[in-house]
C-alpha cells in the first residue's frame, strides 16, 4: 500500500491545493510588541500589593501567603506598627515583602490565602530582565502607589459572593482589563531595586 501512496498523483495535487489555499487565509499571528492580546480578567500574572482607600497598606504581615506558597517564592518579615507611623490598620505590617518571580508558579494561592486581599495577581506578564537578581520583587515594585487606586475588596461588594465570579480578580486588582493596561508596569520605581528593608 505504501507504493500506492508514493505514486498517488491525485493525492499529491490535493496536497498542493491545500497549501495554495492556506496562502490566502487570514493569519492568526498577533504582532506582539506592537499589539498585545487582551488577557482574561483572572489571568495570573505579576503580583501587586494593594492599599486601602486612605493610603494605608492592606498587608498586615501575617505570612499566610508565605506559608501557603508551594514554590517557597514569598518572603515576609512583619513588624509592629508604631502609633506615630501606622503603615497598616492592623497591629503589624510587612516590613519586608519579597517575591522571587522566577520561583513563582503563578498559582494564585497567596491571593486566596490573604485575609485582607492585600496580595493579588494582575494580568501583567512582561517581566523579562537581564539579571536573576532583578526578578526578586520587593515592596518598592509590588506595592501600588497611592494614586493607582484601590480596586474593590470582596467584602465591599453587596450580597457577598457575586454571581459572576469571573470579575472577582478584575475588581480586586487595580488593573482595569476592560480599559486596557500597561503590561510592563512595575510600579513607580522601574528597573531599580533597593536591597534590604523597604522604608
Amino acid at each position: 500500500m505504501s507504493r500506492k501512496n508514493l505514486y498517488n498523483v491525485g493525492a499529491l495535487l490535493a496536497g498542493l491545493g491545500v497549501t495554495f489555499k492556506f496562502m490566502f487565509k487570514r493569519k492568526p499571528t498577533i504582532q506582539y510588541p506592537s499589539r498585545k492580546k487582551k488577557h482574561a480578567p483572572r489571568f495570573h500574572g505579576l503580583h501587586e500589593l494593594r492599599r486601602y482607600g486612605d493610603g494605608k497598606e492592606r498587608c498586615i504581615g501575617c505570612e499566610l501567603c508565605s506559608s501557603v506558597c508551594p514554590a517557597n517564592a514569598i518572603t515576609v518579615i512583619g513588624a509592629e506598627n508604631s502609633p506615630a507611623d501606622r503603615r497598616s490598620p492592623g497591629e503589624r505590617y510587612a516590613a519586608r515583602y519579597e517575591i522571587d518571580e522566577l520561583r513563582c508558579i503563578f498559582c494564585g494561592m497567596c491571593e486566596e490565602a490573604c485575609p485582607t486581599d492585600a496580595i493579588v495577581l494582575t494580568p501583567r506578564f512582561e517581566m523579562s530582565d537581564y539579571r536573576r537578581g532583578s526578578f526578586i520583587y520587593s515592596k518598592d515594585r509590588l506595592l501600588v502607589p497611592p494614586e493607582a487606586g484601590t480596586g474593590l475588596a470582596p467584602d465591599d461588594r453587596p450580597n457577598g459572593i457575586p454571581s459572576d465570579l469571573g470579575r472577582v480578580a478584575e475588581i480586586k486588582s487595580t488593573v482595569d482589563t476592560g480599559e486596557g493596561y500597561d503590561a510592563t508596569w512595575r510600579g513607580t520605581i522601574l528597573k531599580t531595586q533597593t536591597k534590604g528593608l523597604a522604608e
Binding site: L6, G15, F22, M23, K27, T29
Partner: protein
C-alpha cells in the same frame, strides 16, 4: 548567432560590463528569492513571515547578509583545511558560471541578452552544474565529521542518479530543436512550446531539477531532521552563506533552463508581443521559483531508498522511453 559569440558582445569591456550587471542582478535575485521563500512558506503555514526589518520585511536579506558575514568562520580540527575552505567556492563559482551562457531575451541585431551565446550552451550548463556537485561532496567529505560525510555520500549518489534522468529528458528537446544553442532552442519554440510535445520530458526535468538542487522533498543531502544540516553541518559564517547562495542560484538556474527549454523562453504568452521578452522570461522563471517554494512547503522529505527507487526504476526508464519515442518520431517524420 551560430558563431562562438556575436561580434558586438565579444568586445572585452562589453563582456565585463555584462558580467558585472549579471552578477549584481543574480545576487539581488538570490536575496529576494530567499525572502520570497520565507514569506510564501510563512503564508502557507499561516504565519506572516519576516516583517520586522524595513517595510514589509524588505531589508531582511541585507540584515541576514550582515549577520552571516559577522559570524565566526570555524574550521573543525579534524577537517582537511584546504578542501574544507575551497568547497563553498567550487559550489558558488560553478553556480555563477552557468549564467555566462543563459540568454535572457531575444537577441537584437548584433547583440545578445547574454554574456556569450555559445553554440553548445546547454552542454556547458550541464557540465557546470555537474562540477557544482563537487562543492557539496568535497565540503562534506573534508569536514571530517560524520553527518557531513553522510550528507556528501548521499549527494554523490542522489545527484548522479538523477542527473542521468535529467540528461535523458533534455535530449528529447535537443532532438526536436536540432541544436544545442539556447537561443536556437528558444527560437525553434516560436510556434509550439516544447512542454507540449515533450510533456513527459518536462515533468521528468522538473522532478529531477528539484532533486539536483537538493530541495525539499528531495533534500536528503541536507536533511535537517536526520543529518543535522548534512554537508553543511560544520560550516558557519560566510562559508555557510556561500553554500546557501549557491543553492538558491542553482534553483534559479534550473528554473531558467526549464523556461528556455520547455516554456519557450522569452516567447510571449497568447501573442502578447507588446510586453518585452525579458518580462516574459522573468515571469516564467518566477513561476518555477514559486513552484519550488510551493513544493517545499507541501511535501515531506522522501525516504532515501524510495528516492533511489524512484530515480532508477521510474524516472530513468520513462525518460529513456521518452527519448526513444522522440527520436523515432523525428526519424520517421524527417
Amino acid at each position: 548567432m551560430n558563431g562562438f559569440m556575436t561580434p558586438q558582445s565579444s568586445i572585452w569591456w562589453m563582456v565585463l560590463l555584462k558580467c558585472a550587471i549579471l552578477l549584481l542582478v543574480v545576487i539581488t535575485t538570490f536575496a529576494y528569492a530567499m525572502l520570497a521563500e520565507r514569506k510564501v512558506m510563512g503564508w502557507m503555514q499561516l504565519r506572516p513571515g519576516p516583517n520586522r526589518v524595513g517595510p514589509w520585511g524588505l531589508l531582511q536579506p541585507a540584515v541576514d547578509a550582515v549577520k552571516l558575514i559577522l559570524k565566526e568562520d570555524l574550521t573543525p580540527k579534524t577537517a582537511d583545511p584546504l578542501i574544507y575552505r575551497l568547497a563553498p567556492f567550487i559550489s558558488l563559482v560553478t553556480a555563477f558560471a552557468v549564467y555566462a551562457v543563459i540568454p535572457f531575451s531575444e537577441p537584437g541585431p548584433g547583440n545578445v541578452w547574454a554574456v556569450g551565446d555559445v553554440n553548445a550552451g546547454i552542454l556547458l550548463i550541464l557540465a557546470m552544474t555537474s562540477i557544482g556537485v563537487y562543492g557539496i561532496s568535497l565540503g562534506g567529505w573534508a569536514s571530517g565529521s560524520k553527518y557531513p560525510l553522510l550528507g556528501s555520500v548521499r549527494s554523490t549518489a542522489q545527484l548522479v542518479s538523477y542527473e542521468l534522468a535529467m540528461g535523458m529528458s533534455l535530449v528529447g528537446v535537443l532532438i526536436l530543436a536540432g541544436t544545442t544553442s539556447l537561443v536556437g532552442i528558444v527560437n525553434s519554440q516560436a510556434k509550439l512550446w516544447f512542454f507540449i510535445p515533450q510533456f513527459i520530458g518536462f515533468m521528468i526535468y522538473v522532478i529531477t531539477a528539484v532533486a539536483e538542487t537538493n530541495r525539499a522533498p528531495f533534500d536528503l543531502v541536507e536533511a535537517d531532521a536526520e543529518l543535522v544540516g548534512g554537508f553543511n553541518t560544520e560550516y558557519s559564517g560566510l562559508r555557510f552563506g556561500l553554500f546557501f547562495i549557491a543553492e538558491y542560484i542553482n534553483m534559479l538556474t534550473v528554473s531558467c533552463i526549464a523556461t528556455l527549454l520547455f516554456l519557450g523562453g522569452w516567447n510571449a504568452v497568447a501573442g502578447l508581443t507588446i510586453v518585452p521578452g525579458i518580462v516574459w522570461f522573468l515571469l516564467k522563471v518566477a513561476f518555477f521559483m514559486f513552484a519550488y517554494i510551493w513544493l517545499r512547503s507541501t511535501f515531506p522529505r522522501i525516504r532515501y531508498d524510495r528516492l533511489m527507487t524512484f530515480g532508477w526504476k521510474v524516472l530513468l526508464p520513462v525518460a529513456t522511453l521518452n527519448l526513444i519515442a522522440t527520436a523515432a518520431y523525428v526519424a520517421v517524420r524527417g
